[in-house]
């Protein structure tokens, strides 16, 4: 187990270098620079431009800037935002809980619907139910998030008025952010109305963000289930006269879960990238919204730091999933 962990951990170093390099290169490849962003239509004389570039540390050669950046990062310093002048890490920490909350509920939704739907499709293979579920999954997977979100907003929020359009909580509730998780904060404050408001604000964005993972989970569950359902022990269970539900849920689904867990781990990356669009359209104050703005403003430290932190989180989650996988299936860790 220890060797397995060490081997996995060793991979983090090249991954880290790769991520910093890519994040650094990408944002610098985008035309424009933060100084140009300040001036707008207005002209800027060369002296002032040079002074600002110097203040932002952008007047040095790119490789030097990169090495400085990596040096900084290794000391735990992700720099300060060029727009707000707040430390990048602090901004990230303020906004990240909102993204986690959203991603958590999106995943919950995806699992709650995707697992049973996939299992159903497997059991009712090649029937109308199977086609409907898989057709819906394919549609969900191909759905452009932006369009899907707008459609739901226009129907449920504007037309019917059931769900709020955007934001995390109705404006009349000014709940102090202690944990940053709105549901937890409202509960801690003992304000049920605020809690309900926060929950209602989660419905549409979680549904939108959960749609693609739902489709993936449903498809994987179906194929994993199909494989398991062919196994001898399922036939054995059936032959012992066990009910269909018991066979499917206890004997089949449980064994099919192993590949599903891996896929769920992989969804974390998908959820965080999907959050960028979802958060923008629902004005969800998370890191996706923040990164988009960082890119637009050419806020190099924000984009580099944000990408690095997200990559770190994805890598960590994948590591945890690998470990869990090993726990579930001993053959992996000894392999």
């Amino acid at each position: 187990m220890l060797r397995f962990l060490l081997r996995r951990a060793a991979l983090i170093v090249p991954t880290f270098i790769g991520v910093t390099l890519v994040a650094f290169a990408l944002i610098h490849f985008i035309p424009g620079d933060p100084v140009e962003n300040i001036s707008g239509e207005r002209g800027m004389d060369a002296a002032r431009r040079a002074r600002l570039l110097h203040e932002f540390g952008l007047d040095r050669p790119l490789p030097v800037q990169y090495l400085n950046y990596v040096g900084q990062v290794l000391h735990g310093d992700l720099g300060t935002s060029l727009t707000t002048h707040e430390p990048v890490l602090r901004e990230f920490a303020t906004l990240f809980p909102a993204t986690v909350e959203l991603a958590f509920f999106a995943l919950l939704f995806a699992l709650a619907v995707g697992l049973p739907a996939g299992a159903l499709a497997a059991v009712k293979r090649n029937t109308a139910a199977d086609y409907v579920v898989m057709g819906a999954a394919l549609t969900g997977y191909s759905m452009p998030i932006f369009w899907w979100a707008l459609l739901l907003i226009l129907f449920f929020s504007v037309q019917l008025g059931w769900t709020p359009v955007s934001g995390r909580i109705a404006v009349q509730y000014d709940v102090a952010a202690t944990t940053g998780f709105m549901l937890v904060d409202t509960l801690k404050a003992g304000d049920w109305a605020a809690f309900r408001s926060a929950l209602s604000h989660l419905v549409l964005p979680a549904l939108v963000l959960g749609t693609i993972p739902l489709a993936v989970i449903a498809r994987i569950t179906r194929s994993a289930m199909l494989e398991v359902l062919r196994e001898d022990y399922i036939r054995a269970a059936r032959s012992r006269g066990l009910g269909t539900v018991r066979v499917v849920v206890v004997h089949a689904l449980r064994n099919a879960l192993i590949p599903i867990v891996t896929v769920i781990g992989l969804q974390v990356g998908l959820l965080l990238s999907g959050a960028i669009l979802t958060e923008t359209i629902f004005s969800w104050p998370g890191i996706g919204n923040w990164l988009i703005h960082g890119v637009q403003a050419r806020d190099y430290p924000v984009v580099q730091g944000g990408v690095l932190l997200i990559a770190t989180i994805v890598i960590t989650v994948n590591l945890i999933v690998d470990v869990l996988y090993g726990v579930i299936n001993p053959r992996i860790r000894h392999g």
Binding site: E36, E41, S166, A170, V203, P285, N289
Partner: protein, 543 residues
């Protein structure tokens, strides 16, 4: 949600019933507290200090609700009216501005600070010295921050010194006569901070907190900010200009224009910023909404790079002016919302020369001029078009296509190209272009603020002068206008300057756009601002 529309279609009802199970029990009524106005703003402020930043989003969130200037713009206009200064005098040479300050003006308080004195000359001196004097201990208080707008407006070349004559009199002495200075003082960066607040926070050992938690004299006080989500303010009871009629003001930060519109329709906010032009017809048709509009303090234009051939030839520039059908552009690009431009400044600005006759759409005359200039068969060139929607130009690409087609008729083949927005500005400011599409929104309603940054000789260096046009006669007129204290005399000089611009034709001034602020019907007393800010201190909610 009382305004919920009736649901008729059976399909809609069935879907609705299904969704009801999932969500209806969760939804709290979204009715806002009485006296709370929610404004769907377009973005997060960069910070809560009025001197550091230069974006409209930050002004709307900071200097507009919470601060005052010595002088301000009369609501809805660019007329200068007294604010923290009750009156002022300008010396005959135009170099000394003396302000009598208003008495009894209270600063806000917060958990860390309760003011012990009213606003006075020390606050003016403090606010100014902080921006102007690099050796001032407060100048470098917040690391990395620069006084961007102060620098942009070239204040370091204008102001010599600021002195306190007595506790309620301050005197600005300028390095040169500069009539637009009064309008500069009405701008956001010239907001007055509390000197006592900064000193108090310094004594408490947390001086930076003074830049993060604003204390001003304005109509609203700061309550809280949740990053990228909401900014909360409450009415300042002791506001010298009269307590606002609403109790609470909330900015609901909503970056996507379609989402803002959905929120406005659903009643989650009462006023929204920057509608998408495509949504306007539906907004105007909605009985729950009112769409206010105002002539923009702006100009959309096409600039010829006069340093390059053949645009160094006035005849060519005039010919290309004659060849463009502006009315068609106004209809297709601006959807008729706005007016064609014949001068670099919009007609709502004083000094506008209405006697100038615009180049008519006359391709035949254009061909003649081109032949006269030595291009009987036209020539090939490049036209750069705006890659983004700007307040002064909703659709750069469409405009470029129309211009391209017009020019083709006189034999000028223009290749259209563009760059990513920041890159576009960067390249055009170094003069890489042959012809570039641009525009400008005025900062302070002074004509100087159009002529000097866009067509002045100095602005060639900084790149703001996209035509890279430096004309001695024009320059002499605008410099003289800036040094003339009397506004009527200045207006005459600017009128003459416009004659030169018209004749020399460094640009095709295309159009002045109209701005729109959509609001819900229950909002009363909202007045659209001339400089595109959003003021809520006189607004009422009448259900």
């Amino acid at each position: 949600m009382s305004a919920m529309p009736a649901v008729r279609s059976p399909l809609v009802r069935a879907l609705a019933a299904a969704a009801l199970l999932a969500s209806a029990s969760l939804v709290a009524p979204a009715a806002a507290a009485k006296g709370t106005l929610v404004y769907c703003s377009e973005g997060s402020p960069e910070g809560f200090q009025p001197q550091f930043f230069s974006t409209g989003t930050t002004f709307d969130a900071v200097s507009v609700p919470m601060f005052n200037r010595l002088v301000e713009f009369k609501k809805g206009t660019t007329d200068i009216v007294p604010a923290l200064a009750e009156s002022w005098t300008i010396s005959p040479d135009g170099k000394v501005f003396t302000f009598k300050l208003r008495r009894g003006v209270k600063f806000h308080s917060n958990a860390q600070f309760t003011p012990t004195r009213d606003f006075n000359a020390d606050d003016v001196l403090f606010s100014w010295a902080r921006m102007a004097d690099a050796n001032n201990p407060w100048h470098k208080l917040t690391a990395g921050q620069t006084f961007a707008y102060y620098d942009d407006m070239g204040m370091q070349n204008i102001v010599e010194k600021v002195e306190k004559v007595d506790p309620y009199t301050v005197r600005f002495t300028l390095k040169r006569a500069e009539a637009p200075f009064l309008a500069d003082l009405a701008m956001d960066f010239a907001s007055i901070l509390s000197a006592e607040y900064f000193e108090t926070m310094m004594k408490k050992g947390t001086p930076n907190a003074a830049d993060a938690y604003p204390i001003g004299t304005g109509p609203f006080t700061f309550v809280s900010y949740q990053k990228d989500a909401t900014i909360r303010y409450k009415a300042f009871d002791a506001y010298w200009g009269g307590r606002p009629k609403i109790d609470n003001l909330v900015y609901s930060i909503t970056r996507d224009a379609t989402t803002r519109y959905a929120k406005l329709k659903a009643g989650e906010c009462q006023v929204m910023a920057f509608p998408k032009p495509a949504d306007l017809p539906a907004m105007k048709a909605d009985p729950a909404l009112a769409v206010q509009q105002k002539e923009g303090l702006n100009v959309g234009y096409i600039a010829f790079n006069t340093e390059k051939k053949p645009f160094d030839n006035k005849l060519v520039r005039q010919a290309l002016n004659l060849a463009v059908n502006k009315e068609a552009i106004l209809a297709a690009v601006y959807q008729g919302q706005g007016q064609t431009a014949k001068n670099p400044i919009p007609p709502i600005l004083w000094g506008y020369n209405n006697a100038i006759k615009d180049y008519p759409y006359d391709p035949e005359k254009a061909k003649q001029l081109l032949a006269q200039a030595g291009y009987p068969n036209g020539f090939e060139t490049e036209l750069w078009y705006l890659p983004v929607t700007r307040p002064y130009n909703p659709d750069g690409k469409r405009m470029a296509e129309l211009v391209q087609a017009d020019w083709a008729k006189v034999g000028v083949k223009a290749k259209l190209l563009t760059y990513e927005w920041a890159e576009y500005r960067k390249r055009s400011k170094t003069g890489e272009h042959q012809i570039v599409m641009f525009g400008w929104s005025g900062d302070n309603g002074d004509p100087d603020n159009f002529f000097v940054p866009l067509l002045g000789c100095e602005a060639v260096k900084g790149g703001g002068n996209a035509a890279r046009w430096c004309n001695k006669d024009f320059e002499a007129l605008v410099v003289k206008a800036a040094q003339t204290p009397n506004q009527a005399e200045r207006a005459k000089l600017y009128e003459q300057a416009q004659v030169i611009v018209h004749d020399e034709a460094p640009w095709i001034p295309v159009a002045h756009s109209v701005r729109f602020d959509p609001l819900r019907k229950e909002v009363k007393g909202y007045v659209m601002d001339a400089t595109a800010h959003h003021y809520f201190d006189k607004v009422e909610l009448v259900p």
